[in-house]
Every structure is written in C-alpha cells, then in structure tokens.
C-alpha cells in the first residue's frame, strides 16, 4: 500500500489540457520531488470536472480544496504553501461571482455545492442494462475488495464507521443492523432489499433500480457476505414493471459474470438474489410486514421484538435495508468510511435523495449532503415556488412527517433535526405548499392516504385513522365545533401512542404539526368559535400528557 497522504488532482479534460494543464501537472510533480514529498503527495491527472471555463482546475484531496485558473507558475505556490505548510493559496481559490467571497471547498461553490450524488451516482449516466458500463465506473470493485481483501468484520466495521443510516425512513444505523444480524447464530440468514416504495411522491428507489440496478445487487452481495447470508431477496412492488425488468436483466448479467452465484471472486462466498413482488400495500414497507408478505402471508406488521435481525424470513435472522441505503454501500467500501463520514452532519452522514414535488418549480429528484438547508433545496435547487407565489410550508417524511414552516427553512436537515422540528426524514418525499394551500385540507389528504393504507391489524390504526379522517372531514365541511377540535387532538395522540407499527404511530403527525403551526386555519372552519366547548388554542406537543389527562 502506498503511503500517499495527499492527492493532487489535475484536470486532464480536453478543456483544461487546452489551457496548459499538462504543464501544471508536470511542474507540480517536479516541485514535489524537489521538496522530497513524492512519497506523500501524488499528482493525478483526472477527467474533466465539468467546469471548463475556470480551467485548468486543480483539486487537493482529501482536503477537498479546489483551485481554479491554475497556471504552470502556480505549481510552486501550491506545493510550498498547501502541501508543505498546509495553507490554502488564497488567490487561486474560486471566487463566487455574486459576493466575491472566496470559496475553497468544491461543494461550497454554487455551481457544485448543492448536490452531491452518491446513491444516484450512475443514474442517467450508464445504460442500466449493460453490466460493462457499470463495471467501467468501478462497479463490483467494492464487492471484489470486500471478498478478497476484507474480513466480514472489516466490512461491517467499515459500514458502521461510515455512519450510514437507513434511508427508508427510520434512520437506524445500517452498520449496527448488519452487526446484529451477523452476530446471530444461524446456519441460514437472509438479506432483503426493501423496494416497496410507497410514500406519495417519493420515487428515488425506482429511479435507482431503473437507472443503476447493479449498485443494489452489488451492495446486497456485500451485505450478504458481511452478515453471513447466501440468499438475497428484493421485495419490489409489482407496479414497477420497468424496475423489475431491469433488475432481472441485471441479475442475469451478474450471474453470467459470476458476480452472483457460487464462489464469487473465487472466494468461499456464494450468493444469489430472488425477486418477490408486492401488491402495492404501503404497510409492506414496514419490515415485519414486508417479511410476512414475502412468506406469502397477509402484509401486516408484527410486534417487535423479535426484530427481523433475530427472527425474520421464515424465522431466520434477516437484514432488511432500503434500496437507497444499499446504493450507498459500494462507494463506502471502495472509498472508505472516512470519505463517507466526511460528508454530512455529525450524526447523519452522507447524502439523502429527496423527491421534490408540489408547488415547486423544479419538480424532481435531488441528492444533497446531509446538513443542506431546506431553503437551499427548495429555492436554490428547486428553483423556488411556482408562479412566484409565497412559500407556506413543506411536508417532509411523506404521510408520516409533519409540515415545516418558513421559520425552520434554515435548519440544516438531517434525521435528528427534522424530528426536532416536528417532522421526519422518511423516505425523502418533499412536498412544497404555497400560500393558496389550506393546511387542514393538507392534513386531510394525508390522513386519507394513511387511512386507506393502514393494514387494519391494530384497533388504534384501523379505527383511529378512520375517525381522525372523519373528524377532519367534518371540520372542512364546516360542521365541526370546538369539541371536535379537542377530540381530534386527543385521538391524534392516542393513535400515535397506541398503534402497533410505525405507519399509524406516525399517521397523526400531519394533524399534530398543522394544528401546531396553523391553528388559525382550523379555527377558521369552526362556525361559532365557542370557547366553552373547547380550548380554542393549541397547547402543543409538550403538553401531550395533559391531553391524556383531559380524557
């Protein structure tokens, strides 16, 4: 292994070559040698950074410093200042045109800064039905590395240290999940990919499976190796025919190249993948429900514990991860946990894909580092609100989340910050509402969804969501009294506290958060606001125990 500490990446793209980048590289090499740093710093010619008008570009890794318009004469300063002394060469840093502030890190630059694509890295770039294109971009090297150079423990450790958390909604640390499943003593284990995407407006998993199916296959094999499973299952909703067909093609191709099957990379490890189809029940995204469905049973959740990691598919230890989670695995293995954990916030590492929808200009998928603010996503990337209207709120976490208002737009978002402002990450749906949207109707919309999608197993979810919806309907039809608002509040907390699984435990969140932030809109529906019938004000989540008291 090389001891190289620093990589100096010099753009070797056509544009930069034309502006003398070759000479820059040569000078850098000479000076490094002269300073005796050739062991530590290495000059690498890279492909185009796509930023040709500022070329030649030099990037220092792992410092992630980005120099622009570097001439052959600047090589000396870069080596002497940056490499030897560890100081940035200010005059070569990129200047953002608007405020003349110099920015060094690549991600900070406006052109680049907003989006970083890890999970979506190959989407739109490679032909998903051609395994060679995936390999051309480094595909299956992570699997090869894991199988030939890493022990199972090392793989688990790498994922654990990367800080990757479940992208399906819960945010449970993936490495810990792998570790628990690995530690179970069992001859038979399974690894399942949860591709039962169901949040209204969220489609990142479909996009990954359609655009880069091999990344999921590779990751499942790595996971299988790590936890000791030789069988993988992709549980995918049957409404995704194209994703299914591409996944099938990809599995076939992987088998042909021996990347699935017996003794992969000539190791002792054998692994193969089956596809199971879901019938489009939202609740089957819950892992115990998903496993029941895989077994051919009714898709409804079971009480946990035991967790699937202990007793899952047909009673065997089973690890369930979401598509997007898996798509992050190969880069983590090839580039290392350190690289991954350098992205994001303290407790949420890496990036997250969001599906922007609603009253936003650039409807679509974006992938941003954790810690990006909602304002950046909605206004910089998303292009702001349609028709120049005023922003009112954004719902994250789909029907399980809550609304976030203007005052929180500058919160750097990650799993924990979203929870602290009354919403959640969820699978990454992001629905933007403008000043014309009525928030009671928004809550009703979500409740209608959860009511329809509740499996019916537990009384709180089955009847509770129905009654919540009915009260909301009564409110929006102008027939409700203050007492109905009280009832709505109280039932919301009951359903949240008493439901069996995450679906209905979170179902009242849209009500709770809209009541908190838009209480006036609820009151506006009440014809005669008679405070003797009810409280007439929202007393917030902090008093939820008191709400129970008032029963």
């Amino acid at each position: 292994m090389s001891k190289t500490r620093t990589n100096i990446m010099v753009c070797g793209g056509t544009g930069c070559l034309a502006s003398d980048s070759e000479k820059v590289a040569k000078n850098l090499e000479l000076i490094i040698k002269a300073r005796g740093y050739e062991e530590e710093a290495k000059v690498i010619q890279t492909g185009c950074f796509g930023f040709c008008e500022q070329g030649p570009i030099v990037k220092i890794e792992p410092d992630n410093v980005f120099y622009v318009r570097v001439g052959p004469k600047d090589a000396k300063d870069i080596v002497d200042e940056h490499i030897v002394k560890g100081r940035k060469v200010e005059r070569l840093l990129y200047k953002e045109p608007h405020h003349n502030k110099k920015i060094g890190k690549q991600e900070d630059m406006e052109f680049y800064k907003k989006q970083l694509r890890i999970a979506l890295r190959n989407c739109g770039l490679i032909n998903p039905e051609d395994i060679y294109e995936y390999i051309a971009l480094g595909g299956y090297e992570a699997l090869g590395k894991a199988l030939t150079q890493m022990s199972r423990d090392e793989v688990v450790k790498e994922v654990k240290e990367s800080g990757l958390r479940g992208r399906g909604g819960g945010g449970f640390p993936t490495g810990v999940k792998w570790e628990i499943t690995k530690s179970q003593e069992s001859e038979v284990k399974f690894i399942i990919c949860n591709a039962d995407e169901g949040d209204p407006g969220a489609f990142m998993d479909r996009s990954i499976l359609e655009g880069d199916p091999h990344s999921v296959i590779e990751a499942m094999a790595i996971g299988g190796y790590a936890i000791g499973a030789d069988k993988g299952i992709v549980y995918i909703r049957a409404e995704y025919p194209l994703a299914i067909s591409r996944l099938k093609t990809a599995i076939k191709q992987s088998r042909e190249l021996g990347l699935l099957g017996k003794n992969i990379f000539d190791s002792d490890f054998s692994f193969d993948i089956d596809i199971k189809f879901g019938a489009g029940a939202f609740v089957c995204g819950e892992e115990t429900a998903l496993i029941n469905s895989c077994e051919g049973k009714r898709g409804e959740p079971d009480f946990k514990p035991p967790f699937p990691a202990q007793e899952g598919y047909w009673g065997h230890p089973t690890n369930v991860n979401n598509v997007e989670t898996f798509a992050n695995i190969p880069p983590i293995i090839t580039k290392g946990s350190e690289w991954f954990s350098s992205i994001g916030t303290e407790k949420s590492k890496g990036t997250k894909v969001f599906a922007l929808a609603g009253k936003i200009n650039n409807v679509g998928l974006v992938e941003v580092p954790m810690g990006t603010t909602l304002r950046e996503i909605i206004f910089d990337i998303g292009g702001g609100i349609q028709g120049g209207k005023k922003f009112k709120a954004v719902q994250t976490g789909g029907p399980s989340g809550g609304v976030i208002t203007e005052e929180y737009l500058d919160t750097p978002i990650d799993y924990d910050s979203l929870l602290s402002i009354g919403s959640m990450m969820g699978s990454g749906g992001m629905i933007v509402m403008d000043e014309t949207d009525n928030m009671v109707n928004i809550a009703k919309f979500y409740l209608e969804f959860t009511m329809d999608e509740a499996c019916g197993k537990c009384a709180a979810g089955r009847i509770g969501t129905k009654r919540l919806y009915e009260i909301l309907n009564k409110i929006t039809s102008g027939k409700a009294t203050m007492a109905d608002l009280d009832a709505l509040k109280q039932l919301s907390y009951m359903v949240k506290g008493s439901s069996l699984c995450g679906l209905c435990q979170t179902a009242p969140n849209p009500i709770i958060s809209t009541m908190k932030h838009f209480w006036d809109e609820y009151l506006a529906f009440i014809k005669d606001v008679d405070h003797s019938q009810g409280e007439g004000e929202y007393d917030g989540a902090k008093n939820k125990d008191n709400l129970m008291l008032k029963a």
């Binding site: 991600e107 989006q115 998903p128 021996g258 990379f265 679509g364």
Partner: protein, 130 residues
C-alpha cells in the same frame, strides 16, 4: 466468462472505460458520438421512447454511422423530461431538457450535424457525482 479476481474485473473495467469517459468528461479520442436518453418510467411516460425512436430514425436517414443511442436511467429532472445528453468527443457533454419527439430534428441537425449547441434547450447539470 466468470470474473475470478479483482484484477480480472479491473481488466474488464479498462476495456469498458472508453465509452463512459465520453459521458462524464467528453474526454476520449476517436469520433464516437453518443446520445443518452433518460429512459426511466418518468421519462418514458413523458415520451422518451418516442424521442429515442425519432433519434434512431434521424440517424438512419442521415446515414451517419458513428452515433450510438444509449438508454439510461433518469437524472431526476422530472420538470424537464424527456432528457437527452449529447456526448461528442473532446467536447463538454450537453444535457437537453424537454426533448419531445418534435424537438429531435432540431437537436440532430444543429448539434450533431453542425456542432452547434441548441442553447435554449440546454439544462445545467447542477450536481456532482461521487
């Protein structure tokens, strides 16, 4: 053929690298031109399949034989589907948005035949790939 080692995999990678380099950086030698069409469910439902067919027909008509049409996944620009990326060796790849079937001829004629980018349809790629 089965891949038996990391080295074998890397060899395959080397052999396949050419075409992908063209996509990312426009950085390859040779004269092979590529048209990438976003063919995910979203793209297809916005007419990507018709767009792709139209490109193939244009190529047939023009009798140019160094252009390859590649179906790829989506890049998430739902607001501008169908999306098409034109990769010409030595040039920065250009991404076009809202390329319905009727826009194909213009792109083909201007960009692919005459090397002139159709500016009003260009989309900025606002992300970095890991």
């Amino acid at each position: 053929m089965k891949v038996k080692s990391l080295d074998e995999l890397k060899k395959i990678r080397e052999e396949s690298l050419e075409k992908v380099n063209l996509r990312e950086k426009g950085d390859v030698k040779g004269d092979k031109v590529e048209i990438l069409v976003g063919m995910s469910t979203c793209g297809i439902s916005s007419g990507a399949r018709e767009t792709l067919t139209e490109f193939i027909e244009e190529i047939d008509k023009s009798k140019i034989n160094n252009i390859k049409v590649v179906p790829v996944g989506c890049i998430g620009y739902c607001h501008s589907e169908p999306t098409v990326q034109v990769n010409i060796p030595g040039q920065k790849p250009i991404l076009y948005g809202n390329v319905k079937k009727d826009k194909v001829h213009e792109i083909f004629e201007k960009h692919l035949q005459n090397g002139e980018v159709v500016e009003n349809m260009v989309l900025d790629i606002d992300f970095e790939r890991a």
